[in-house]
């Protein structure tokens, strides 16, 4: 049998029972294990030490299929847990050599973990992305619109198209900031992420807002209403959730 290390998914309260994780499947279909060290517990699974060595991880990060498999398996465990109890998700690809090292971590950082869990207890994360509608780069217009007349040059037309696109983009940015400000008022905490590249988002329109909000479980009616209010012809909004509190269950020392 090859060597194994323990992959850590999340930390939770130590009252977690084995029965809560027995149905869950982790990376490579492995069973999920609980290592409790009151008042907190680690949720882990065994992974192959070779495949999860530092050099293998570096290669893996450049491999979309590897990365996607790990990311989805990691999130599946974390989100299954988060439906049942408070969890502090751990950053992707954090491994320990053995159970004793995990226990040591839980002992040494117990206060920090409890503080992180207290911050997100009974709360969940919602994510919002905003796109500036009609900002995709346009192919050159064929044929002359009548209003422009034959005297207007191709370059002038292109410039007018670009200016109009910039103006639409600016209006969308302004609206995105306004909806974000409203949500900051309504929610317990917020966090901004950099807008994603068009090629990543898979969206033609330019992303102008990428943010996360922490709110009490079951209190999403109000944010849905606000998002609906701002979702329109200039700014298209995509709300996702509830997420496990990835953006908010951080330790003080991470800040």
């Amino acid at each position: 049998m090859s060597d194994e290390v323990l992959y850590l998914y999340a930390v939770t309260d130590s009252n977690i029972e084995d029965a809560e994780v027995i149905e869950m499947r982790a990376i490579d279909g492995a069973p999920v294990q609980v290592i409790a060290e009151a008042p907190v517990a680690a949720v882990v699974s065994a992974v192959d030490a070779e495949r999860f060595s530092e050099s293998a991880l570096r290669r893996g990060m450049e491999d979309l299929y590897w990365l996607e498999g790990i990311a989805r398996a990691h999130n599946a465990v974390v989100s299954d847990l988060a439906r049942q109890r408070p969890v502090a998700p751990v950053r992707l690809a954090t491994m320990f050599a053995n159970i004793e090292n995990v226990r040591t971590l839980l002992r040494v950082r117990a206060e920090d973990f409890v503080a992180a869990l207290d911050r997100i207890r009974g709360r969940c994360e919602w994510a919002l992305k905003g796109f500036s509608v009609g900002t995709e780069p346009q192919p050159p217009t064929t044929g002359l619109p009548e209003a422009l007349g034959p005297g207007r040059s191709y370059l002038q037309r292109r410039r007018a198209e670009r200016d109009s696109r910039d103006r639409r983009s600016q209006e969308a940015v302004t609206e995105a900031e306004a909806v974000h400000d409203r949500l900051v008022q309504l929610t317990l905490a917020s966090r901004r992420y950099p807008p994603q590249d068009r090629r990543l988002s898979g969206q033609r329109d330019e992303m102008v807002l990428n943010s996360a909000y922490l709110l009490p479980e079951g209190f999403d009616t109000e944010i849905r209403r606000v998002v609906n209010e701002y979702d329109g012809v200039r700014l298209r909004l995509e709300l996702t959730g509830p997420w496990a509190p990835y953006s908010f269950a951080t330790l003080e020392s991470d800040q």
């Binding site: 290390v5 850590l8 060595s53 530092e54 991880l57 570096r58 990060m61 450049e62 491999d63 979309l64 990365l67 996607e68 990311a71 989805r72 990691h74 999130n75 599946a76 989100s79 502090a88 998700p89 751990v90 950053r91 992707l92 690809a93 954090t94 491994m95 320990f96 050599a97 971590l105 950082r109 973990f113 992180a116 994510a127 966090r191 992420y193 994603q196 590249d197 090629r199 990543l200 988002s201 898979g202 990428n210 996360a212 849905r224 998002v227 609906n228 979702d231 909004l237 995509e238 709300l239 996702t240 959730g241 509830p242 997420w243 990835y246 953006s247 269950a249 951080t250 330790l251 991470d254």
Partner: protein, 57 residues
Amino acid sequence: MTVAGSRDELALVDLLDRLLAGGVVLTGDVTISLAGVDLVQISLRALISSVSTLVEP
């Protein structure tokens, strides 16, 4: 407005925002020993190169 909730619908990019830039940062016996921002950049580069081969930007 679009609302997505089920796990199957989650876009990889939405996941990576959270898994690579969120979550508790711990010093494990094995971790990807790069700063968080670098980690995101590397994986996004991987994504862009994979996606670019499929879709003309």
